[in-house]
């Protein structure tokens, strides 16, 4: 996958690839929660969108270099994740989804009203700056390599988390929570840590996206964005390592090529949702893994 992504800019438009990579990271972060802990958050746009606001604000108003801007976005997302997670993990299933949705909407309205987000306009013309004061990110290739490094780094980190003893406990909680508790694991704490990790990675994705597009806007905090990341993960395959990446590329490509048909994009997305839920619950990668009999 890494070599494919390194060669990709030769064949495709780099900004499009960077967008896809940001969403792929977002979907991977989301998958960490639903695929490995079994918690469906309907408010992940909160972390994605707010991290992009904070990093855009940091880069533009505070004049921080890009690496610190992204870090401050991720830190904001982690903080928000800790608060939302502490409230939400007390409930399971539908209730968990509803609480995260409610809190995300609360923060969405805050983003609409707060002066520094500039409401409908968003934070525009965010400078990309110089990475470590050396590499000029205004250059498209440099930016692409940076995004790629961030994505691969986070992807490997997520891979490591999933395959660590900690990840095994998360899977145990997903499969049978009362049993995990009876074995002496404090499931609430594990769930909270997983939630914060997922929020942080979502924040990294959002912060990076703000620098790539030089824009942080309301679209990224609104609840359809939460729906979109669920779609990506579902299409790719819940609980598979490569699924969210494949799903994100699929959905972003689809949106890119279907922009000419206007509002039908929503209809197409809806149809994909329905078809996936009814026929391909394992998703693209999940089905592939089933056919090849390997774990992906």
């Amino acid at each position: 996958m890494a070599s494919l992504l390194v060669l990709a800019p030769m064949f495709a438009y780099p900004v499009f690839l960077m967008k896809a990579l940001c969403f792929a990271l977002f979907a991977c972060a989301f998958n960490l929660l639903i695929g490995y802990v079994g918690l469906l958050s309907f408010g992940h746009a909160l972390f994605f969108g707010w991290a992009s606001y904070i990093s855009a604000h940091a880069a533009k108003v505070w004049g921080l270099p890009p690496e610190l801007a992204i870090l401050s976005g991720a830190a904001a997302a982690a903080g928000l994740g800790a608060i939302v997670g502490a409230l939400a993990i007390r409930r399971q299933g539908i209730y968990f989804a509803m609480i995260t949705l409610a809190l995300a909407q609360m923060m969405y309205f805050f983003a609409v009203q707060a002066p520094f987000t500039h409401g409908e306009d968003g934070i525009q013309a965010v400078p990309r700056g110089k990475l470590f004061g050396l590499i000029d990110l205004a250059d498209q290739t440099n930016m692409y390599v940076t995004v790629l490094v961030i994505f691969l780094g986070c992807f490997l980190l997520i891979y490591r988390i999933i395959n660590s003893p900690f990840g095994e406990v998360l899977k145990a909680i997903r499969e049978n929570e009362p049993r995990a508790i009876s074995l002496g694991y404090r499931s609430e704490r594990y769930k909270l840590v997983a939630f914060v990790l997922s929020a942080t990675f979502a924040g990294v994705a959002g912060a990076t996206k703000a620098l790539v597009f030089q824009l942080a806007s309301l679209t990224d905090v609104d609840w359809p964005m939460s729906g979109e990341v669920i779609l990506m993960t579902l299409v790719g395959g819940l609980g598979t390592l490569f699924g969210p990446v494949a799903g994100a590329f699929f959905v972003v490509t689809l949106e890119n090529y279907l922009t000419t048909i206007g509002q039908w994009v929503f209809v197409v997305q809806g149809v994909i949702f329905v078809v996936c839920v009814l026929l391909f619950r394992r998703g693209i990668i999940g089905e592939l893994a089933q056919v090849l009999r390997v774990k992906l």
Binding site: G93, I94, L101, A102, N176, R179, V267, G270, V274, L278
Partner: protein, 321 residues
């Protein structure tokens, strides 16, 4: 004319009325949502879209069949309810044995399809629908001015909610329904067609949403995203009222008063600001008390509480090995 806390009664009751009107729609929508969740165990994310379909059905009936508001209020819920039944038969019936989440995702997809299609044909600006002639004008109640149509909305939706509650709590049909949610297998063994009952319940819940849509059409515009704006608040209402609790949904819906999502917020300028603060200050505690009261009744009466609410699952003492 009198004054309360230094605010004219016109402004105060005007605000309260807007809250009550919103409350009527919240109550109707969350009632449908609660009934569907109770019986099908599915969070119907398409509920807002079906509310929108109801308003559009009324609009179509007027434009293409020349049938006015009174026809629409009967026909639109039936038509949209039938589409709901088709949806249940085609899609939802395959999901009952799976996790809740798939129902939510599927109905979310359906909502995207409906809203996308209508936005494609009708844009997002909204279409006008006029108040029926019989309900135009208003009453001067001395302390405030009440438009007839808004009075009608409050009274009619309250009547529908109470009728639904009565049917579920006090009739034979309602007792079958409650029994089927407790233990479908046993009820089937008694010779009652539970799958058909589930289908009809979904149709009924959807019809309630469409009814709310028809009633909303003359107040708000008929627009494709009218449901998307409302659905989040309705979820909040259902959760506050207690998932699957019918009375909870009705009471919370009416109490909600648009405290969270006030349509009138920006329409009123400085004059309304003290009013709102005042209202927030004095409504906070009684409102919470009312919710507690209604949650209390839901606990006391064994009637309409669902077996799969989170508390019962969380409290099960024996872990499943």
């Amino acid at each position: 004319m009198f004054e309360l806390f230094g605010i004219s009664s016109q402004a105060l009751f005007g605000q309260l009325l807007i809250g009550l009107i919103n409350g009527s729609f919240y109550a109707l929508l969350s009632l449908g949502l609660a009934v569907i969740f109770g019986m099908l165990n599915i969070i119907n994310f398409a509920h807002g879209a079906q509310y929108m379909l109801g308003a559009f059905a009324a609009y179509f009936l007027l434009q293409y069949a020349g049938l006015g508001y009174w026809w629409a209020i009967v026909l639109a819920p039936i038509v949209v309810g039938i589409t709901g039944i088709i949806i249940e038969r085609l899609f939802l019936q395959w999901l009952y044995k799976l996790d809740h989440l798939y129902g939510l995702l599927l109905t979310f997809g359906l909502a995207l399809i409906f809203e996308g299609t209508f936005r494609n044909f009708f844009g997002s600006s909204g279409l006008p629908y006029s108040v029926p002639p019989a309900l135009q004008g208003g009453q001067n109640l001395g302390f405030m001015f009440l438009p007839n149509y808004r009075g009608w909305v409050v009274v009619f939706s309250l009547a529908v909610c109470l009728t639904t509650w009565f049917v579920i709590e006090r009739t034979k049909l309602g007792s079958y329904l409650r029994a089927a949610t407790e233990n479908p297998a046993l009820v089937r063994a008694f010779g009652i067609n539970v799958p058909r009952m589930i289908t009809l319940t979904y149709g009924f819940g959807v019809a309630l949403a469409a009814l709310a849509g028809v009633m909303a059409a003359p107040i708000y515009n008929v627009s494709p995203q009218m449901g998307a704006n409302l659905i989040i608040v309705v979820f909040a209402v259902v959760v506050i009222g207690g998932m699957g609790s019918i009375m909870g949904a009705i009471v919370t819906g009416f109490i909600q008063h648009g405290n969270i999502h006030h349509h009138g917020d920006r329409a009123f300028d400085t004059a309304s600001r003290p009013v709102r603060k005042e209202r927030l200050a004095c409504s906070a505690s009684p409102r919470r008390a009312a919710i507690r009261r209604c949650a209390g009744t839901a606990r006391r009466l064994p009637s309409w509480s669902w077996p799969h609410c989170s508390s019962s699952r969380r409290c099960s003492p024996i872990p499943s090995f």
